[in-house]
């Protein structure tokens, strides 16, 4: 079996995790990289916790084994911590800065700082990204998913599997308002 890059996408239903996975899958196809994406649909989408497994390269099975994820992109710190065990020791986690509190009466969630500390203590490398804020500032409030991908790609973790041109081609193919999203993606690449 050849190389596999295991990417964990985590967040809250409605944040665009599944669309992001679709962008990545189409980018992989554009590049000629094999890809398997296992999604969460249905009940969990009503504001529930969402995880999507993306496996780039020579993967057969749809799910990433526990402890073998290479990269995480999380649009919520709590969800990053919830699925951290899918990652390898030392893996890189790109984590959104803003906590989306679970809408349960009387629940006070931990802060981003607390979560990040726990992730680092558990052996992960964490990059906090203000994707929700930047997407809003750049006039595309629903684009935090794309921004996050740009921020992660900027550091070279996808080299050999995907490049920015593949992502842009995929955005054109599968997202609404592609120009807006490409602008956001480029901004993230530059700022990342």
């Amino acid at each position: 079996m050849g190389r596999v890059l295991n990417l964990v996408l985590a967040g809250v239903g409605g944040q665009g995790i599944v669309s992001l996975a679709n962008v990545i899958a189409n980018a992989a196809l554009h590049r000629g990289t094999n890809v398997v994406v296992a999604e969460t649909h249905g009940l969990s989408q009503r504001g529930g916790s969402v995880i999507v497994h993306v496996r780039l390269g020579d993967a057969e099975a749809p799910l990433i084994p526990v402890g073998e994820g290479d990269i995480m992109i999380a649009l919520d710190p709590l969800e990053a911590a919830r699925y951290a065990h899918y990652l390898k020791q030392g893996a890189l986690a790109y984590v959104e800065q803003k906590v989306t509190p679970p809408p349960l009466p009387g629940v006070k969630p931990p802060s981003t700082e607390e979560v990040v500390r726990s992730l680092e203590e558990a052996g992960l490398r964490v990059r906090v990204v203000p994707a929700i804020r930047r997407a809003q500032e750049l006039g595309n409030p629903l684009g935090a998913n794309v921004y996050m991908l740009g921020a992660a790609m900027a550091s070279g973790v996808f080299d050999g599997y995907l490049g920015p041109e593949d992502v842009e081609a995929a955005i054109k193919l599968v997202l609404k308002k592609p120009e807006k999203n490409i602008r956001l993606f480029r901004a993230a690449l530059a700022e990342g």
Partner: protein, 644 residues
């Protein structure tokens, strides 16, 4: 969805379910029926998309799975290739015709897609529907992942055609909801437009005992011939060294896990891998041949040990004694879905090779759960709130018989108004039994509009007939929301986007003889409280069923309708001078768009607010106001929106 119509010869990213739809189109399915259910829904959504553009095949959302399968049987008897798709529990609803159709056989191919949900991502149980195949004498084809989904459905149709027998295509969540590159072939345009003709064959198509007895003899004999034939089926094959002592059997998606686990452990050259795409009836010849050379067998399959137990049966009959490992005695867990961790560790143990599972990062932090919740602006929040107040005012001790739909989420705090949830239609069904047996309590059946048409009608007829004192609350949100907003018989739009008849729930209830029927505006809490109160009083006094239809569109549907019509809704805001930080709105009402500021006073997230106006009705201090007067059009759409 557009990828379902990608030109032939292209390679496109598709969801497994869309690949199943594409496969059906390439084969030339002419009739496709379904009732929505995760993880099967996108098959029919993709077919409906294709049908709108191509003018064929005929696609329908049926009123329930039994009706869907009966329709597909009818189409197949009329001579056109047919398919009925449903989630695993839908097959329970369709089980009655399913057990008959094997006896009759079909003159054109008939495929029943069962989408099983191991891990219960969105279901009330885990059930392995390959067992239905054994029980009903219907062969089962199982794709090895989304990668093989398109090919498998085509093979399922071909198998059905070859034997004049129905075939089950068994998918699972990680097949239907996995996205992979798929190569497209030609869509069979002539096939999907085909019209049929029913040819009488009374001895075959009328299952009176005299006919059925003969057909049963034929069926049992045919079953063994099918089994033999399947030994050379193109979805079954073997890989790896012939002289290996370890035989790994990978059925369906289990094949992918087995293959990757073998690679991870460096065992590709030391084990034989038998890939099974037709788990039922298990081709004995294949397994006996391979097993006779092995001294250990390791079976990987999603769901129950269906292949494993058939292997054991086959080898027992042949007096072949080997160690068989799988799910019956481990090492693979019988509950939940397959994972590569579990399969790799199990394989290592069976093969006797070292394997050290990685030590994953385990952050030491306590995380609040994040269960799914009713959307901001969901009409159900207002209905639950009003109903609870009415129950208090009427001083009744309620039993909330819940049902399957978004309103199931009412099981969680703050409402906790779902005391039972069994299956679709179970709300009225259970209330029937309780209403005749409890003292001092009143059953309140809470049922959605789609569920009402699916399985609520017979229960309601029973309640009227047997005079069951209960309150039935029909949540008419104009759609089947939980599964992604499909239309239903109350809507008047078909799966192909054509006008259909819209059956009014009020007429249906009156027609069944319910004497007390009221319609309320789901978004109007005061009206709801009053009407629920009156209805409860009626039930108490008259000892008969009362029915209240709470009408108000699923807010997501309303927003989608409004967007299409160019109508904007108005968000709400908090007057901090009036807010007293009582917390009613974010605790007892628990709208996800409302959160407490550091001062405990309410704030509204304008990105989440949907302008439903419910908060303004519950706040005792009049602190919520729309930022501007809501347009009349929006208020109308909130009550009348429907799927397109």
């Amino acid at each position: 969805m557009k990828e379902v119509l990608a030109p032939p010869g292209s390679r496109v990213i598709m969801l497994g379910n869309v690949a199943i739809a594409r496969g059906a189109l390439e084969y030339g399915v002419a009739f496709a029926s379904a009732y929505p259910g995760t993880p099967s829904t996108e098959i029919t959504e993709a077919l409906s998309y294709a049908s709108r553009l191509l003018g064929a095949p005929y696609v329908e959302w049926s009123s329930n799975e039994k009706v869907a399968l009966e329709g597909a049987i009818g189409a197949a008897l009329a001579g056109v290739p047919a398919m009925a798709s449903m989630k695993h529990v839908g097959v329970n609803v369709a089980a009655d015709p399913l057990f008959s159709v094997g006896y009759m056989g079909v003159p054109a191919s008939l495929v029943i897609v069962s989408a099983d949900d191991p891990g219960m991502w969105s279901s009330q149980n885990e059930q392995d529907n390959r067992i239905y195949g054994i029980h009903a004498y219907i062969p089962v084809v199982e794709p090895a992942g989304a990668q093989e989904a398109k090919r498998a459905v085509i093979e399922a149709f071909k198998l059905s055609e070859k034997w004049g027998h129905p075939v089950i295509l068994r998918s699972t969540t990680r097949i239907g909801h996995t996205r992979v590159p798929v190569e497209t072939g030609e869509i069979n345009l002539e096939g999907i437009k085909r019209k049929g003709k029913f040819e009488k064959n009374t001895e075959r198509y009328t299952l009176v005992p005299a006919h059925a007895r003969k057909l049963r003899e034929e069926l049992v004999e045919k079953w063994e011939r099918i089994r033999e034939d399947l030994a050379s089926h193109p979805l079954n094959w073997v890989e790896g060294p012939e002289d290996a002592k370890l035989l790994v059997v990978g059925a369906g998606l289990g094949y992918r896990y087995a293959k990757e686990a073998l690679a991870r452990l460096g065992l590709e050259d030391k084990a034989r891998l038998l890939k099974i795409g037709t788990p039922v009836p298990l081709p004995r010849k294949l397994i006996v041949e391979e097993a006779s050379r092995a001294d250990k067998i390791f079976v990987v399959e999603e769901g129950d040990p269906v292949v494993e137990s058939q292997i054991k049966e086959a080898l027992y009959d042949e007096k072949i004694i080997v160690d068989i490992h799988g799910k019956e005695k481990g090492p693979i867990r019988r509950t939940g879905e397959l994972t590569l961790d579990n399969v790799t560790a199990g394989l290592a143990r069976v093969a006797g090779v070292p394997y050290e599972a990685p030590q994953p990062p385990r952050p030491r932090i306590s995380l609040p759960p994040r269960p799914p919740v009713l959307c901001a602006g969901c009409p159900y929040r207002a209905v639950f709130y009003a109903l609870r107040r009415a129950v208090g005012k009427a001083r009744v001790r309620p039993i909330y018989n819940g049902d399957i739909g978004c309103y199931s989420l009412g099981v969680n705090p703050p409402f906790q108004m779902q005391d039972t949830i069994v299956e679709m239609g179970g709300s009225i069904g259970l209330a029937n039994g309780m209403s005749h047996t409890v003292e001092g309590q009143i059953p309140i059946a809470i049922i959605g509009d789609s569920t009402f048409f699916h399985a609520g009608l017979p229960g309601l007829a029973n309640a009227v007939y047997n005079r069951a004192p209960m309150l039935v609350v029909v949540l008419d949100n104009r759609t089947t929301a939980m599964t992604g907003h499909q239309p239903h018989p109350g809507i008047g739009v078909t799966a192909r986007g054509e006008p259909g008849y819209s059956i009014d729930i009020v007429d249906a209830a009156r027609g069944l003889g319910v004497e007390y029927v009221k319609v309320i505006d789901a978004f109007n809490i005061k009206e709801g409280e009053e009407e629920f109160y009156k209805a409860l009083e009626y039930v108490k006094k008259e000892g008969k069923p009362a029915l209240v239809v709470a009408r108000g569109a699923c807010i997501l549907l309303a927003i989608a309708n409004a967007r299409r019509m160019g109508v904007k809704y108005t968000v709400y805001t908090v007057d901090l001078d009036k807010c007293t930080a009582c917390g009613l709105c974010y605790k007892a009402f628990n709208c996800p768009a409302i959160y407490p500021g550091d001062d405990g006073k309410a704030r509204i997230d304008p990105l989440l607010c949907t302008g439903c106006g419910e908060c303004a009705q519950i706040c005792p201090f009049d602190a919520f106001h729309p930022v501007e007067e809501p347009p009349e059009e929006w208020l109308r759409i909130m009550r009348t929106a429907k799927p397109m």
